[in-house]
């Protein structure tokens, strides 16, 4: 820096091109250094709480809530504890979450991708009416949703207790069903289908293909990027949902992970570190999915807004 400053003190009436360039480069360097500093500070504020939870969950001694940069000791004891020390076994919550996510994502994506096909590529009376009605529903606030859906769930008999296997199936359905008709998903998929050339579909129709075949063999493969993005969005949504399950499930054994975690923090008041271990386990799958699907994920979000 000093050398460059000295060299720029050449006796010249006006700055030469190289001097202007050098000055701009220095200014840029300064701006970039500033930008990185701010970027790192923001990253620290947004990520440190996660890191702190992780290292605290690995400790077994010391004052628990203390701010720190490194764990005092590293042990998986809290992780064993969270699997053993509760009334509802933790692995059961994981299984519940996996079932709920699989069921939820499959149903949501299938139903939206089926329903979007006629709206994008068929002609039938009532099409525009249905489409606009759906859009209005998206805007309409749904404050009573929680209350009325709870009542509906009870009236449908989904919370009845008869025999264990059937009870479980019904309660999983009760958790999943209210979220299955995804208006955003329908919208995203319709947009994706609109881009499929009509010639492909017409050629298939002339060849005598059934609509279901066209949907499965032409529409689905061509809309795959959108379907992947939407599936990731839905996985994250189902994995993270907890309120509905907590309000509705009478059977704590059937709670998904996020909902069960809160149960844990209530019953596990003597050992916060074990709850932290549970929190880490709860976040981990989402971070993995997010890391791999980040590209699709962002596209899904942008698509949902631009739509």
């Amino acid at each position: 820096m000093l050398e460059r400053a000295a060299s720029s003190q050449r006796p010249a009436a006006s700055p030469t091109l190289s001097e202007i360039k050098a000055r701009r480069r220095r200014k840029n360097l300064l701006w970039n250094a500033l930008a990185y500093t701010v970027l790192v500070v923001i990253a620290l504020i947004l990520l440190y709480p996660f890191y702190w939870t992780l290292i605290t969950s690995l400790e077994t001694t010391g004052s628990i809530y203390e701010a720190k940069l490194l764990p005092k000791d590293v042990s998986l004891r809290n992780y064993f504890e969270v699997f053993q020390g509760t009334t509802v076994p933790f692995w059961r919550l994981i299984v519940n979450s996996l079932i709920i996510c699989t069921l939820g994502v499959t149903l949501t994506v299938t139903l939206a991708s089926l329903a979007a096909y006629p709206l994008a590529k068929m002609r039938f009376p009532g099409r525009d009416l249905i489409f606009y009605a759906i859009l209005v529903l998206m805007v309409l606030p749904n404050e009573a949703g929680l209350i009325v859906n709870y009542i509906t769930t009870i009236k449908l008999g989904l919370l009845q207790q008869t025999n264990p296997v059937l009870d479980a199936a019904r309660q999983y359905a009760a958790v999943v069903l209210p979220g299955v008709a995804s208006i955003v998903g329908l919208f995203l998929l319709r947009q994706a289908y609109l881009g499929v050339p009509i010639e492909l579909i017409e050629a298939a129709r002339i060849d005598g293909a059934k609509e279901l075949t066209i949907w499965r063999r032409i529409m689905l493969p061509l809309a795959l990027p959108t379907i992947v993005a939407f599936s990731i969005l839905e996985f994250v949504a189902y994995w993270n949902s907890f309120l509905w399950a907590r309000i509705m499930l009478p059977d704590k054994e059937l709670m998904p992970l996020s909902a069960g975690l809160l149960e844990l923090s209530g019953t596990f008041s003597t050992n916060s570190r074990a709850v932290m271990a549970g929190a880490v386990i709860t976040v981990l799958p989402i971070l993995v999915i997010f890391a791999f699907g980040q590209r699709y994920f962002m596209k899904g979000i942008e698509g949902a807004v631009k739509g």
Partner: protein, 310 residues
């Protein structure tokens, strides 16, 4: 000429593409068969709640016996209920989050829009709180706010002394929860603004710079007007979710201490699922819905319908 013609024919094809096969009874039935499962669930879980919820607001209902029409009684009860008013006040106070989160996320979006090495890492990292469940986020921040926790350490460093958890103090609890909403939401709005910024493109900004505009002038005269549609969407989303704030409160404070974080939707929740007064809860829900619509409209007006031009 030929290019326009080609473009026109492509558009014609596109229109035909949207139309699809001939309208026949058979094709209509097929179309509805495709939509049937979706529509059944849509009506059951989205349309029905709007109508039945509105109806319930004018009834007394406890699930066991059928709803009993009571006219405006629920609304009179609410008007006389100081707890409901306190909840409503806190919900409106929560709107304070909106301008802060919008300004910060615009700033962050502009920062990560710079072509810097490794910027992708930062964009991804900032999104991590967004994809995390409120159950986990709420718990993490409850711990972070503990008396001897990291937040107290930061406050001490800044020369402030926090006695106990900020969440246990009626003066600070609401703001402490607001901070978590802000912390979790910034990445979400950042992505939306980033999309908006990229839609503006660099050309216009660079042209302004060449014309001798300062960075601030470029921001005010080029970037901000270009972002107006995004600002509308984002402020609309965040205002409505501020009025309906619930999950953070549910996990971190349960409305306490001393009702200082008791919001309107928390009132609705406790009337329905703690007291089983579904009619009264539905009435409160209806009021919140109307308030959201009003604020949505205000947002729309303030951003001049989100039109890109100033």
């Amino acid at each position: 000429m030929t290019t326009t013609k080609r473009r026109e024919s492509r558009r014609a094809q596109h229109v035909r593409g949207a139309q699809g096969a001939r309208v026949t009874v058979r094709n209509t039935l097929i179309a509805y068969a495709f939509m049937l499962p979706f529509l059944i669930l849509l009506v059951l879980y989205h349309t029905w709640p709007v109508f039945f919820g509105t109806y319930l607001a004018f009834t007394k209902y406890n699930i066991i016996s059928p709803p009993e029409w009571v006219g405006l009684e629920n609304f009179r009860t609410l008007a006389a209920d100081s707890q409901f008013w306190a909840g409503l006040r806190n919900s409106l106070k929560y709107i304070l989050v909106v301008p802060v989160i919008q300004l910060l996320s615009i700033a962050v979006a502009m920062l990560v829009n710079r072509p810097l090495r490794g910027i992708g890492f930062f964009r991804t990292a900032y999104y991590v709180p967004v994809v995390t469940s409120f159950a986990v986020v709420g718990l993490i921040w409850t711990w972070m706010y503990q008396q001897d926790g990291p937040v107290s350490a930061v406050l001490r460093f800044l020369g402030l002394e926090a006695r106990g958890s900020l969440l246990n103090n009626p003066v600070t609890a609401l703001y402490a929860v607001m901070f978590v909403t802000l912390w979790k939401g910034i990445g979400y709005y950042m992505v939306l603004y980033l999309a908006g910024l990229q839609a503006i493109g660099r050309e216009l900004e660079e042209a302004a710079v060449i014309d001798g505009a300062t960075r601030w002038q470029v921001f005010v005269n080029v970037t901000l007007p270009g972002l107006r549609p995004t600002i509308l969407v984002c402020s609309l989303l965040s205002t409505i979710s501020a009025i309906k704030v619930f999950e953070e409160i549910y996990v971190m404070t349960q409305g306490g201490p001393a009702g200082s974080t008791y919001t309107a939707l928390f009132f609705t929740y406790s009337r329905a699922f703690v007291d089983f007064q579904y009619g009264l809860a539905a009435a409160a829900g209806l009021i919140i819905a109307v308030i959201s619509i009003v604020f949505g409209f205000i947002n729309f007006k303030l951003t001049r319908g989100g039109k890109a031009d100033a």
